[in-house]
């Protein structure tokens, strides 16, 4: 990617392809709401080639029978920004990303309540000579605050079409579409750039040599300040004409905000929300999980009953159905987890949490902003690692990536849930907190502590030469849009199910095969799995894992779950199911482990050691793949896998050895 000037973007007449329209704007300007309204939430999410910045594309139907593709770009404050997200926006607009054409038209969304800062980006867009339309959003909120924006005056001063809209209630969208169509059919050819630079200014000759978008390189700080000051002076002169404030009701930072970030209430509320989240994970998910689980068991027994007995039936009833079923069982919990994280994010609470935790995270060499990727990693490390691209400094970002997989993703939930349900009694502590939920919370806290310690260590090793900083906008506290949150839950569950029906299905077949072959000879008396490939693999590593309290069945399941943690459940259930073809023995894994626990062949110490192993182990191919892509380095990827596996081994060893002595 270069920052050299490209040929001007094609106009509609020149291009036979459908035009591409890019939506740009500051974070929290309502850009994504507008995108959803314009495309009817009918969009695809992909990544830009080579970089994992999310690319959302939808189809926009315009008047005059034009159809265009609309791209939602990451929020950005300036074309000259230094974070990965901001650089991607600039490069995409310039058409300097391989495989992406420069957009035919740029629609810049600006927030009417925050117009001065939003116009900074606009002034850079004008200088870069992009074909431009401005969507002036949040007109209703501005009006409520006593801010009156005269869009015609703004349009005349900037020499850019300005369309007032309210993206949330879909007002003004027809005008916007009409204006987009008009601009596509009859593009504005020339536009006055550098309006902010007085010709007589002492720095004018120096500044006019610098193309706006080429400002990425090292510029003299004095020049940066001088340019910004001149831009804002120009912006203020425009705002003084185009904006009138009548009976100003400035949005005093709400009382709620002050409480959420207060020294007294902030942290108790934060921990209360976390506790509520984990409590709900168990309580709300229980009924649907039991339902799914009983359907899976019934299907298995039914299949064995109706199908002629044979290899294929056994593959279905012992391998595929329980294998995939044992993972689908966790859909309710995953949905609830994503729902909570979605609500926290959409309401603006996550930024408050970042504010509360920055002091604490600073101590471990992380920044408050790393909190959002790390919290997302509690759902899944893959989006968590992707979210680190908003961290502008490289070492902060690398440290966050390396510790994100310790945060306890939802794929660990199946492992924890099964082990907890099998070995921890369903008691209530103090009459209210479920002991099982507390053990689960404990596992998450262990992972979080591990992440903190490792971050501190990485920070020591990677001792920074570069500057690190934390500047974050706090979006206003607002009522979360449940529709948007549910859409995200739906996307996440769908991708989880897609994984369950592809990767997990394939793993189930392979695991069943490994656990069923080679067949024991006629007069073999013992467990047939023991002499299968799976049994041999388990036995091979058994000496190494015996000090952890793991037997060969667990050993094989650990090997089998290398592609994805949840496969552990599938694998253990297959290994324990195969060879139990005595009719109605399709008990769920939990029941089987409970029995083993009572028999004494599956102790609490083993279960705890196993959970601790999964707290730290990097058993996830997708995480390794995304780490490789994001760090661009096999060294860091293998390093991450290595340190996590070593940590998992040592921690599980300690847990088991202490466990058998005190439990």
């Amino acid at each position: 990617m270069t920052s050299s000037d490209k040929s001007p973007p094609q106009t509609l007449q020149q291009s036979s392809l459908s035009p591409t329209i890019a939506l740009v704007g500051n974070p929290n300007c309502g850009k994504t709401t507008l995108f959803n309204s314009l495309t009817g939430s009918n969009y695809k999410v992909a990544n830009y080639p080579g970089v994992t910045v999310e690319k959302k594309t939808g189809t926009l139907t315009l008047p005059h029978g034009i159809s265009a593709s609309l791209i939602d770009l990451p929020g950005t404050y300036a074309l000259s920004g230094t974070s990965l997200d901001e650089k991607i926006v600039t490069h995409l607009l310039q058409g300097s990303i391989t495989g992406e054409v420069a957009p035919t038209l740029v629609v810049a969304v600006i927030d009417a309540t925050n117009i001065e800062r939003n116009l900074f980006l606009i002034s850079e867009l004008i200088d870069a000579k992009f074909p431009l339309i401005i969507a002036l959003n949040m007109m209703d909120i501005a009006e409520a605050q006593g801010i009156k924006v005269y869009s015609e005056i703004l349009a005349r001063s900037l020499d850019v079409p300005v369309i007032p809209i309210i993206a949330r209630s879909k007002k003004g969208l027809d005008d916007l579409k009409l204006s987009i169509a008009r601009e596509l059919l009859h593009p504005t050819r020339s536009r006055k750039a550098f309006g902010w630079l007085p010709e007589s200014h002492a720095l004018a000759p120096a500044i006019s040599k610098i193309s706006c978008v080429a400002q990425h390189g090292e510029l003299d700080p004095h020049l940066i300040t001088a340019i910004a000051t001149l831009r804002y002076a120009w912006i203020r002169s425009i705002v003084s004409k185009a904006v009138r404030i009548e009976n100003a009701k400035p949005p005093s930072p709400s009382k709620l905000d002050a409480i959420l970030t207060s020294k007294i209430w902030g942290l108790p509320i934060f921990f209360g929300i976390l506790a509520l989240m984990f409590q709900s994970l168990f309580m709300w998910a229980q009924a649907p999980m039991e339902l799914i689980s009983s359907i899976v068991e019934a299907t298995s027994s039914w299949l064995t009953g109706v199908l002629p007995s044979g290899m294929l039936t056994r593959l279905l009833a012992e391998g595929i159905v329980p294998g995939v079923g044992n993972v689908i069982v966790f859909v309710p919990q995953i949905a609830i987890l994503f729902f909570f994280i979605g609500i926290l994010e959409d309401s603006g609470y996550l930024s408050r949490a970042a504010f509360l935790l920055d002091n604490f995270m600073k101590r471990f060499g992380l920044q408050g902003r790393a909190f959002i990727p790390l919290l997302s990693s509690m759902a899944c490390a893959v989006p968590g690692i992707l979210a680190t691209r908003t961290i502008p400094t490289k070492i902060d970002r690398l440290t966050t990536i390396l510790v994100a997989p310790l945060m306890g993703c939802s794929a660990r939930l199946p492992v924890y849930t099964v082990l907890i349900a099998a070995t921890i009694p369903p008691l209530y502590v103090g009459g209210w907190f479920s002991l099982q939920a507390l053990v689960l919370l404990g596992m998450y806290l262990l992972g979080i502590s591990g992440a903190c310690v490792m971050a501190w260590l990485f920070n020591k090793i990677l001792r920074r030469k570069e500057s690190c900083f934390f500047v974050m906008e706090m979006p206003p506290i607002r009522k979360p849009v449940v529709r948007v949150v549910l859409r995200n839950v739906y996307d996440s569950v769908l991708s989880f199910l897609r994984n369950a029906t592809t990767v997990i299905l394939a793993c189930s077949v392979i695991i069943w095969f490994l656990a069923s072959f080679p067949k024991p000879s006629e007069h073999y008396q013992g467990n047939p799995v023991e002499i299968s490939f799976a049994g041999r693999m388990g036995k091979l590593i058994e000496p190494a894992i015996r000090p952890l309290g793991f037997n060969w069945e667990i050993g094989f399941s650990i090997i089998a779950s290398f592609p994805a943690r949840e496969v552990f459940v599938t694998s253990l259930s297959t290994v324990l199911n195969v060879g139990h073809d005595d009719g109605d023995d399709h008990r769920s894994l939990i029941k089987r482990l409970q029995d083993k626990n009572q028999e004494g062949s599956f102790s609490l110490a083993t279960a705890l050691a196993l959970m601790v192993f999964y707290v730290f182990a990097c058993q996830c191919m997708s995480t390794l793949a995304v780490c490789r892509r994001e760090t661009g380095s096999w060294r860091w990827t293998l390093g991450m896998f290595g340190y996590m596996t070593a940590l998992a081994y040592v921690a599980a060893l300690l847990t088991y050895q202490i466990g058998i002595r005190i439990l």
Partner: protein, 87 residues
């Protein structure tokens, strides 16, 4: 940027501004380029009015209200921002 001499007595950096107090930015001083770009793009230039709305434990981070939005920054970043408090 040069500091205007007559306001020197009342110059402070942003870390010294009390919660609830308003101030006008007079300069951003000795600041790494990346941070400077970030600050100016978010409206932190000479002449912008800010109000401190919240502080974390030990005075960091500091939340400031400016141009219709709230920013959160650490005391280390706030120390680069020279302001003149308004009474």
């Amino acid at each position: 940027m040069e500091v205007i001499t007559e306001t020197v007595q009342t110059q402070k950096d942003l870390t010294a501004v009390q919660v609830g107090q308003r101030a006008i930015i007079s300069a951003i001083k000795s600041c790494p380029t990346d941070l400077l770009r970030k600050l100016v793009s978010m409206g932190l230039v000479a002449g912008t009015e800010v109000r401190v709305t919240q502080r974390g434990f030990f005075g960091s981070p500091i939340n400031i209200h400016l141009l219709g939005s709230v920013l959160s920054l650490r005391s280390a970043e706030a120390a680069h921002i020279q302001v003149q408090p308004l009474v």
